[in-house]
Symmetry: C2
Subunit: 125 residues, 2 copies
């Protein structure tokens, strides 16, 4: 458990292999959110409530193949490599990014369906 | 400016009367988020990164007419009226709820399009 206690939103789905948006919770506007789901979702939202993490997530998501090397993420946000890696780790623990080590560097890729789950939750139906 | 410096996401639209989802920023996945937009969005996300505020927003959104009296929001979340009012104020300052005083009580209503703007931002296109 990291300091921010960021929780993986995908844990609320039926299993780790489940990535479709409809596996997630009911939209906020349809029924009152139970207390336990609100706790889980708030932790997930905390991962998105930071300007550096939003920029990193956006850069990865807009990259070819929706994947980027940590080495290419340092200059755009103007922070040290340990700081960038720290933010990327929080995004990974929240279920938004996946991490692969290739040679010297770690690569982060957008987890398919992770952003859609957030979008679905806030869609007014 | 309140303590959390929650910023109204609608300020990024063309004007206060603009409420359609497409008035907002480009989805995160389409192009890297500029630093200033990331700051604004992070402040907005902070309003959603709290379990009590998510529950209050959800209860209001799921209520008849997408509006609820503060008096009906205290018992469901089990907190004092000043605490509930504090959280509702943050949601209002972030542009998610609007406030109307009628008689003794304040009523909070879901701002049309506010949640859709968040959903649009996180939609993978």
């Amino acid at each position: 458990m990291n300091l921010l206690e960021v929780t993986d939103i995908s844990a609320r789905a039926t299993g780790p292999a489940e990535t479709s948006a409809d596996a997630c919770c009911a939209p906020l506007v349809r029924e009152p959110l139970p207390a336990d789901e609100a706790e889980t979702l708030a932790h997930t939202m905390k991962a998105l409530a930071d300007p550096t993490r939003l920029r990193l997530l956006s850069i990865v998501a807009a990259s070819d193949g929706r994947e980027a090397c940590v080495c290419d993420l340092i200059e755009p946000v103007g922070l040290s490599q340990p700081t960038v890696s720290h933010h990327l780790k929080i995004l990974a623990e929240a279920g938004f990014l996946s991490r692969t080590k290739r040679g010297t560097w770690a690569y982060y890729a957008l987890v398919p369906g992770a952003l859609d789950r957030v979008a679905t939750l806030f869609t007014a139906v």
